[in-house]
């Protein structure tokens, strides 16, 4: 057992480090190199230049507020939704499935722009509406502010938190809660004293993953932060890069290093707090299906709240997109705008060969990439959870390496690396780059699901004469299905709209959707951008629905309850 584990651990360390360490090594070298490329004379000047900038202090403060705020907002909202969905008798549960993934599928730039359109202080649609309704002299909301940024970024990261917390919530051992109720713990007390602490690994995982993601996020800080003159690290890096015509990515990498250190510290903190994860094992043979809490009086208000959240998260941005895709330029909705509506943007996009080509490429990367990525993630998550050695800790840290760099920077790292391989300028550069960078999207939901599978379920399979591969295939993976579906969805939707790496590595023939969308946005062609964005959402939805259907077929419990033939 242990031998097999250590063999597996070292094989995975080799694979994962090839994927993630190589570009980071390039960036480290680049940050110490005098020249503009990866290799050159040694210098510390780049570090000195970026870390002595007085602006860095203010930026760091902003970043802290932004990152913690958004991650906390996303995690709390995700907890709330996951609890309602998995543990209560709230109606229309399918809404949650949709809710949880829609923000994954909307290009982030577009999401941020539609919020600017709704809540900008000059003529934001919602603002103007509220002003008229209440006779206010000034716009009540300003989206170009820290709270605005936190809200929009939090909504965008909600799916990450939800997809990690929800599977854990779904396989929660009810008897733990029941015993609390028996010992006179009220529902609230039970929630705070029992449910949340037991779910700690999943909650922490979600929170930390959100933090790391927000640290690297660029769309919201650039679209909403820059107009509000609020700089965070990612926009600060962008500024460093664009301040000169000869962009110095070494400097960007030098700033990136501190984000990297921060991220790795967070991973270790996470590991420290979940080191007794055996305590949290909850799936065993008994009590597999969580009981449902009757909401009674709370049902209607909670349901209304859910409807409002769905409206904000799904209907509003999609409506804005739909609207924008029909109008020739950005206009406030009025008679004139409706008169000007046409299908022109849709026609242009559908007849554009590069858009079609990029759709094909992105579908390939999304579906095949996420499948290969999920497979690798299952193995890595297995080692992280079941093999608690120093080496498995090391594996966990390196799996986060590329992920924790801001997108602008890691893309260059991959370019410096891939240009030395035959993969450069092929679709495989994107393929491996995506998997390497977004590996945690697969690993995180799967580890929190793994933590809950009792070791004996797997051991008994070995005793029954099943090989490791058979055990994985017939016992571990079927039990992991909720986690695997989450991981796959996170990866596939991410790959489908990936921008940071693509913009650096995509070449003629390997165009992908996000790069095409960026091109439209750089030309200010929001209509075409929205049309393509909607096409993207449509195909993302197909992928998500498809994998959920497949996942349901393997679902434990009910689905297997077939009558004898």
């Amino acid at each position: 057992m242990e031998r097999r584990h250590s063999r597996l651990t070292y094989t995975l360390i080799t694979i994962v480090s090839l994927l993630t360490v190589a570009p980071v090594v390039m960036l480290v070298i680049g940050s110490f190199s005098k020249n503009l490329r990866a290799f050159g004379d040694f210098t510390l000047s780049k570090y000195i230049a970026v870390y002595t900038d007085p602006m860095l202090v203010e930026t760091a403060g902003n970043t802290l507020v932004f990152v913690l705020g958004s991650a906390a907002f996303a995690t709390v909202l995700a907890l709330f939704l996951a609890y309602l969905n998995n543990r209560t008798n709230i109606p229309f549960k399918f809404l949650f499935k949709v809710l949880s993934v829609v923000p994954m599928m909307i290009p982030h730039v577009l999401f941020a722009v539609s919020w600017a359109l709704l809540l900008n202080p000059s003529n934001g649609i919602l603002n103007m509406w509220l002003q008229q309704l209440f006779g206010l002299a000034k716009a009540p909301f300003n989206i170009y502010s820290m709270p605005g940024m936190i809200m929009v970024e939090g909504l965008l990261d909600l799916p990450i938190a939800y997809l990690i917390i929800s599977p854990a919530m779904a396989s929660f051992d009810v008897s733990l809660e029941e015993s609390s109720r028996v010992f006179k713990g009220g529902p609230m007390r039970t929630l705070f004293k029992i449910t949340l602490p037991v779910l700690r690994p999943a909650i922490l995982a979600a929170f930390i993953l959100c933090i790391v993601r927000v640290l690297a996020s660029f769309a919201v800080p650039s679209v909403l932060g820059m107009p509000g003159r609020i700089y965070v690290l990612s926009t600060y890096i962008y500024r460093t890069v664009t301040m000169s015509l000869i962009a110095d990515y070494g400097k960007a990498a030098a700033i990136g290093m501190s984000i990297l250190v921060l991220s790795i510290t967070l991973i270790y903190i996470y590991r420290y707090y979940t080191r007794f994860s055996d305590k949290y094992v909850t799936i065993s043979s008994r009590g597999f299906k969580p009981a449902v809490v009757e909401l009674r009086k709370g049902k209607i208000p909670l349901f209304i709240m859910l409807i409002i959240i769905s409206f904000i998260l799904i209907v509003l941005p999609v409506l804005v997109l739909l609207y924008t895709s029909f109008i020739p330029y950005i206009m406030v909705p009025n008679g004139q705008a409706f008169a000007a509506m046409s299908l022109a943007n849709w026609r242009t996009v559908i007849s554009d060969p590069i858009s079609i080509k990029s759709l094909g490429n992105s579908l390939f990367l999304g579906i095949v990439g996420a499948t290969v990525g999920s497979f690798l993630s299952i193995l890595v998550a297995y080692v992280i959870v079941k093999v608690k050695t120093k080496a498995s800790g090391f594996l966990e840290s390196i799996s986060f390496l590329s992920f924790s760099f801001p997108g602008i920077v890691i893309g260059i790292g991959f370019m410096w690396f891939f240009v030395r391989t035959p993969l450069y300028a092929t679709i495989w550069a994107l393929f491996f780059g995506y998997i390497a960078t977004y590996l945690p999207y697969g690993i995180r939901p799967m580890t929190s699901a793994f933590v809950q599978i009792h070791g004996s379920l797997e051991e008994s399979s070995l005793v029954c004469g099943a090989s490791f591969a058979t055990t994985m295939r017939r016992v571990v993976i079927p039990l992991l299905v909720p986690g695997i579906v989450s991981g796959w969805v996170l990866m596939a939707t991410m790959f489908f709209r990936e921008l940071s790496l693509s913009v650096v590595l995509s070449r003629p023939g390997t165009e992908v959707l996000a790069v095409q969308i960026l091109r439209f946005s750089e030309d200010g062609q929001w209509g075409k951008l929205s049309a393509l964005g909607l096409i993207m959402i449509f195909f993302s939805t197909l992928m998500v629905v498809g994998v959920n259907l497949i996942g349901n077929r393997f679902k434990p419990g009910e689905a297997k309850d077939r009558k004898p033939a």
């Binding site: 057992m1 242990e2 043979s285 008994r286 008994s460 070995l462 005793v463 004469g465 099943a466 309850d561």
Partner: protein
Amino acid sequence: MQITITGLKKHYHSEGKTIRALDGVNLTIEANKIFTLLGPSGCGKTTLLRCIVGLETPDEGEIKIGDTIVWSNEKNIYVPTEKRELGMVFQTYAIWPHMNVFNNVAYPLQNMKMPKDEIAKRVAKTLKFVQLEGFENRPATRLSGGQQQRVALARALVAEPKVILFDEPLSNLDAKLREETRKELRMFLGELGITAVYVTHDRVEALALSDMIGVMRAGNIVELGTPKKIYFDADHQFVADFIGRANLIPAKVTEETSEHSLVTTAIGSVVCQKRSFDPSDELTLCIRPEFLDFKPASDAINRITGVVEQMVFVGEVYESEIRVGTELIFAKLDPQTTLKEGDHVTFSMKPEHCLLVSR
């Protein structure tokens, strides 16, 4: 199949401390017998079982199942769990919640690549054996504890392994069900006549089920023997104490004859059955409560008088404590007795029931 364990060591390191889970265990488990590893929690019994199955890797030593070495540090042999052809029932049963009963039980056969109709036949036969006929399509999550336990047993038996291992399989059942299942298990294993290794901390289970018992403490086998030998004739105070309620009184040998030893204790001089000990051993007199005779003949050996201090009625007996000098003697009094607390009472002990054990 016989299991031979030689010099098995397994140490854990945690927070700077070394825990010797197995401290050089030597053990031969005879073929086709039910062997029980008994001991308090943390004594290493589960670790030993898991080493036999291959779920854990020892640090040193050798494990032989039949004629096959499945683990040897020296010879660098490691046969992985799935190649050891064993059956095992886990404490949690480890019934796979995503499969129905049939698939759970058929699993080992499917791994052997047996033809489908043969699998169906064997599963049906095994389910019948464990009295779960007609449960094939029941999802595993819709079984009671006792049913899950039987599914686990069926799964362990279905491939007809030469050795079957049990890791505290009854500890999750309620008392009544535990008793029934224990009887059933005894019956099943008796019918099959295969080698069974059973781990438990429950002495009644151990006594009721086993052909042989190995009592473990701190990574070592302290004593090995049949249930009767362990119960009546233990060599060690720890074993005597662990296997059943006993009065343990420090003793010193003062005189020896060819058959008996005379010892002095806090309750006076007692004639015991003679046993040979290492002269440096400190000794304890061990008397089980059921051997105290409260209607002693006037000429009985080992007549002792004390005061009843406490009497608790538990149905079949009065559990009572009798003060003799500084010692409190635990005794079981006839439920119909007229004795009451504070009464003087005289009892006797036959020398063959007065057991000298090493401390």
